[in-house]
């Protein structure tokens, strides 16, 4: 019994230490954004890898999500003769939740694992020690550019996913449900208009749909970097770091999504609430 309690105690201490280290890493990575030297070229390279490199999977994910959403919804809406609301449903679902969350999960699978594998390999082959030995802060050189790339590229990828998802829904609406394109698109816009406007002109759904990806982008970059920088024990350690990065980033994205939604409902309440 005593050994069991001691094991739980050790586990909880390590978990608390891990959380602390994670936030210290994040705090230092953010602090270096405004500190010289600026690694602008590294930021561009990471934007290309995380952002441009993810476009194909985002296009496919967005397209098929929009299509299947429209397909499933058309069946249920058809029971009540309400197919004209297909655009409202697809638009709201894609922009509020599916676009940001699915994009983040796909990029987490691709980029978080890539960051963990790259930094983990550098750690176990002493490249990070070499970097430190030459007077370079590895967080400034390796983590900050990835963080900047994550928080700038994920909102853009989300816009791509939202757009292509709505287009996927349009394809199903027109060719499967026989719903005129203008009615579908009017429904999409009505959803955004009815969600209310922030600052008088910006649809509230857009704010919520673009704020979440900024946070998700930070989670993807920091989680990959955290596990990569803490990799130990050769190639096996790098493999474990990669797996843990993807699992942790995915869970954090889903958990954070709930709390952000809750927060946005308070900060930017939709009309009527």
């Amino acid at each position: 019994m005593g050994r069991f309690v001691a094991a739980i105690d050790t586990w909880m201490r390590n978990a608390a230490l891990g959380v602390q280290e994670y936030f210290v890493l994040g705090q230092r990575a953010v602090r270096f954004v405004a500190a010289r030297p600026f690694y602008a070229a590294d930021v561009v390279v990471q934007m290309d890898r995380i952002g441009v490199g993810s476009i194909p999977i985002i296009l496919l994910t967005g397209l098929f999500t929009g299509m299947v959403l429209a397909l499933q919804s058309s069946v249920e809406l058809g029971r009540f003769g309400a197919e004209i609301y297909l655009g409202n449903l697809v638009g709201a679902s894609m922009v509020r939740e599916l676009g940001p969350v699915l994009s983040a999960l796909m990029v987490a699978g691709r980029a978080s694992s890539g960051i963990a594998a790259e930094l983990g390999s550098m750690r176990v082959t002493e490249q990070i020690d070499a970097m430190e030995s030459m007077g370079t802060d590895p967080i400034k050189k390796l983590v900050t550019p990835r963080l900047l790339a994550g928080i700038t590229m994920l909102p853009l990828l989300t816009i791509v996913a939202d757009t292509i998802g709505i287009i996927g829904g349009l394809v199903i609406a027109v060719f499967r449900v026989d719903l005129p394109a203008d009615i579908y698109l009017r429904g999409v816009w009505q959803t955004f208009a009815s969600s209310g406007y922030a600052f008088g002109f910006f649809p509230r759904d857009f704010i919520s749909g673009l704020l979440k990806p900024v946070v998700f982008g930070a989670i993807i970059a920091l989680t990959g970097a955290y596990y990569g920088l803490n990799a130990t024990g050769g190639t096996e350690g790098v493999g474990m770091a990669t797996t843990r990065a993807v699992v942790t980033a995915s869970i954090m994205i889903l958990g954070t999504d709930y709390f952000l939604t809750q927060l946005l409902l308070v900060v930017l309440p939709p009309p009527g609430l």
Partner: protein
């Protein structure tokens, strides 16, 4: 002495080589590196009260079995690790209490040659050697280029041939030499070598040893060489420290070590 077996006679012959540097362990020169009663543990004790003094221009070789804590000493001097207890002084300054940014400043005066070179595998040889110059100096790219060429020539590599190659395209010995070129790129005052001959064939070992001597002779840098390669270590050492289970159990010249009667030293020397 005739009863001595193993490689000792060969080592003794190597010590008598005319090219071997004259021991320069001159205590009148300023102390550049000092470890004072340093203790460090991870899952188990690694260093247990280590004392080490290195004077300017001296080459100290730290010998010891695998896992005896040799490489840990280098990481402490680089302040990649912090001891549990004791002082680590570089240029007379205790680096244990330094914050991260100040530690980076100290590191700019130290070049380190890693066990497996630790070259950045996504960068070319040129970019690897240019890295510390780009990071730590205000030199323009036009000024960096001839420095990189010169450093590669110093380590007996053909710049025209290797500069555009990636580390993965080089042999182990060539990688190690590029690692040395990178370590000396900024003319550091101290060079730390972590197992510089590990995993190399005998000819490549000779090349690295010759290179280490050349650095002593021509640049006069202060060096610490961590190795378990006794022959290579003796060929470059002004002074030898033998580490056993986290403690220094011998300190002296290679000749004194060979003459020592301690059973562990005799067993270690083979």
């Amino acid at each position: 002495m005739s009863a001595v077996r193993g490689p000792l006679p060969e080592i003794r012959r190597e010590l008598e080589e005319p090219n071997r540097p004259t021991p320069r362990g001159d205590c009148s020169k300023p102390v550049v590196i000092e470890l004072d009663d340093v203790w460090l543990s991870f899952d188990r004790p690694v260093l247990r009260g280590v004392n080490l003094v290195v004077h300017e221009g001296e080459t100290v070789v730290v010998l010891g079995e695998s896992g005896s804590g040799k490489s840990t000493i280098l990481k402490l001097i680089m302040r990649l690790l912090v001891p549990d207890r004791g002082r680590v002084c570089v240029f007379g300054r205790d680096i244990v209490g330094l914050d991260f940014e100040d530690a980076l400043e100290i590191r700019k005066h130290i070049g380190m040659v890693f066990q497996y070179a630790a070259l950045f595998d996504s960068l070319t040889v040129y970019e690897n050697v240019a890295y510390p110059l780009r990071e730590n100096t205000d030199l323009s790219e036009e000024a960096i280029y001839p420095v990189v060429r010169e450093r590669l020539e110093f380590v007996n590599l053909d710049p025209d041939r290797v500069m555009s190659q990636l580390p993965g395209e080089l042999s182990g010995g060539m990688r190690k030499r590029v690692g040395i070129a990178r370590a000396i790129a900024t003319n550091p005052d101290i060079i730390l070598y972590d197992e510089p001959t590990a995993g190399l064939d005998p000819l490549a070992v000779d090349a690295i040893v010759d290179l280490t001597r050349k650095l002593q002779r021509e640049l006069g840098v202060t060096s610490i060489v961590v190795t378990h390669d006794i022959r290579a270590g003796f060929r470059v050492a002004d002074r030898v420290d033998l580490l056993r289970e986290g403690r220094i159990v011998f300190e002296g010249t290679p000749e004194q070590m060979i003459a020592a009667d301690d059973p562990y030293i005799r067993a270690f020397l083979g």
